[in-house]
Symmetry: C2
């Protein structure tokens, strides 16, 4: 008799976005005349850069010819893209990462989810609270999370690191010993960043305890302050204790085009094994590379035109973030994030729960946000607002919120 992975049965429903959709749909049906503005989901809205689409057209043309056709590519990504990444995302910041430490993939979500494959089930996993649910759910699937307690909304074996206003949404190093540490800066959902000193402490902890930091920097393109590290490998010693996840999704609008990469340094060794070799083996066995056309598109992000164009789009979203920050502050709300991030983390008015404030904004301002409680217990009392929307719609949404709360 075939048995299933029992850990799947322990997973609570993926409640957050379906519950949002349910409430939005119920409200829209009851109020067909209202024009809703959605600042909830973290998806981009601006078109691909012309440099990217030109490169993709060219690659499609190649695929239509016998000479230009590309069949199976390297599972790890084409050398042209790995070279461009090593040069522009690392060497340009003074960080020495070799192309064969870079694994091109179809998404940071896939890689964050699949990276658990190469680790033992016995590792103690630390996650932030609030947290991007993929880190938690994939460890639950693997049996590293223990059992889920609906009341505390915590898994029995995970170590939660609260990110609160008190610690500036940058978690303290846990008291207990942990083995795998998921960090995401700029953070989803809070929009907080980690300073060089904070990352140095994490790297020191990980090296001292033979832990591994799983560093998600999918939002690094939104960093504006010059002293904030864009990659954990800017921190000396990180190559012996960290894996980094990066993505073209938010940098270049690739959420529907699918290209990302993961950096596993060759110096990173645990249990006598090179994690670079283990991840290479995992990818060669369970993955067959990213479409040639997409890799050519990603390469074009690094061309001078591509760089200028994606920076313009990032600036567009950053202006939205500023509009949101300033408007909601004017409305009397306490906001954080949004300076080095496209997420603004907004404290609910005194005594109001996440979902209650979500409903108020939906019903009175006709603006859709994301209740912070959906990202974990420490997200209670917050909502997440995203800057990825249309400029005019964002301004309109903020004006409505100001008028409702003002």
């Amino acid at each position: 008799m075939a048995t299933i992975n029992q850990n799947y049965l322990k997973l609570p429903g993926s409640y957050l976005f379906s519950e949002i959709a349910r409430r939005v749909s119920a409200y829209a049906q009851a109020n067909p005349d209202k024009k809703l503005i959605k600042l909830g989901i973290g998806d981009v809205t601006r078109p691909l850069a012309p440099a990217v689409t030109q490169a993709m057209h060219k690659a499609v043309d190649e695929m239509a010819t016998g000479e230009g056709f590309h069949g199976y590519g390297p599972e790890q990504g084409y050398e042209f893209l790995r070279q461009a990444i090593a040069q522009h995302d690392y060497a340009a910041r003074g960080v020495d990462i070799a192309p064969d430490e870079i694994f091109v993939s179809d998404g940071a979500k896939s890689d964050c989810g699949n990276i658990g494959d190469i680790f033992g089930v016995d590792n103690v996993v630390a996650v932030c609270d609030p947290v991007y649910p993929v880190y938690v759910d994939t460890n639950a699937m693997a049996g590293r999370a223990g059992d889920y307690d609906g009341e505390s909304q915590h898994w029995s074996k995970l170590v939660y690191m609260p990110c609160t206003a008190e610690n500036g949404f940058s978690p303290a190093i846990p008291q207990e010993k942990v083995d795998l540490i998921y960090l995401c800066f700029p953070n989803n959902p809070t929009g907080a960043v980690a300073s060089r000193e904070q990352l140095e402490r994490w790297v020191a902890y990980a090296n001292a305890n033979d832990a591994v930091i799983l560093y998600d920097s999918a939002y690094e393109a939104f960093i504006t302050q010059p002293d904030i590290p864009h990659t954990i490998f800017e921190i000396p010693g990180a190559k012996t204790c960290a894996i980094e996840f990066r993505s073209f999704s938010k940098t270049a609008g690739f959420t529907g085009t699918r290209c990302a990469y993961t950096v596993v340094p060759k110096e990173l060794v645990r249990g006598g094994a090179s994690l670079n070799s283990l991840w290479n083996r995992r990818q060669c066995t369970k993955f067959n590379g990213v479409p040639y056309v997409v890799q050519r598109g990603a390469e074009a992000v690094y061309s001078p035109e591509g760089q200028a164009q994606v920076k313009e789009t990032i600036a567009y979203y950053q202006r939205n973030a500023q509009v949101i920050r300033e408007g909601l502050t004017r409305a009397g709300l306490t906001v954080s994030g949004g300076v080095n991030a496209a997420y603004i983390w907004v404290k609910t008015p005194e005594g109001m729960g996440s979902w209650e404030f979500f409903d108020l904004l939906l019903e009175q301002a006709n603006v859709v946000t994301t209740p912070g409680a959906g990202f974990g217990p420490s997200g209670e009392g917050y909502i997440r607002v995203t800057a990825f929307g249309d400029q005019q719609a964002t301004q309109e949404a903020v004006a409505r919120i100001v008028s409702v709360l003002g």
Copy 2:
């Protein structure tokens, strides 16, 4: 201290294609004047169909505009593609598969590798010998394979089902009870197919034992004989015991474009859980969908022009297969496969090992093949020849082999 997945350390090196590359490269360096013809690796060579590249161009143009831009798509694939698949690959053959039983993905290799996520580690796994290595290696990574014995080239806990000339390269149902059964028809590497009666026996076994058949039909487009099932779901009862993997790689030349799909029927329940729901949860958590541009390309495969064009390409490869079959038979070799498949499975001359014959063909005919022993012990005494090459080169390769052996 972070621990690694110890099962990875048990994996023998992925020896086959690197060893082939090593021998080919050594020969080429020593004999720079010789023109090698490669009929080894199972990669296609013909360009994408014009209908496909037109659709991809159109989709790239959409992505360049605010109105046509597509961000995150459904993890399961766009409805337009799932509908087209349900209609053309199933309803057209009298098989009722709903779009929400179809999960579009980046590759059959990914899905065959990842499907193990939803199953318990305690399942007894049966694989064919010779076998596509991904089935074995991914189960070894998950801890289902036990330990590897270099001498027998077998894993201690896997059940091997020999595919030999005696059973027509269609394995017998194992004596011992097995839980997960990997079947691949048309087969890689032997090119054998399963008859309706044979598949009926597998389905009866699986239903009687609550086993699950993992059915890889990535090569179904090459079936020429009208009575051979293209999908396991042509067999009554298969929906309660089978998962099917399909791909655009060989059907439409998508090896470098990356699109495939997996069918998990809603009727398939094990341990009280719907495998469709489990796989949906897996994909939603660890995958973010296939690029919009690629899905539009895949959809175009089903247009009338797309169908005509991909059938022409398949016919091109089928003519190669016939040339290889007839030529090698003329050269006195015993061949099988190549009728409903692009792989031809060739018995080595009396008493000659796989690698020995590989070397002979490399050195005397300057033709690169794949030693059957690389796919498992029962592949010893065979080589695999692929029909995916250029027509002229294939004819030339066959002529050379005939002249060497003749």
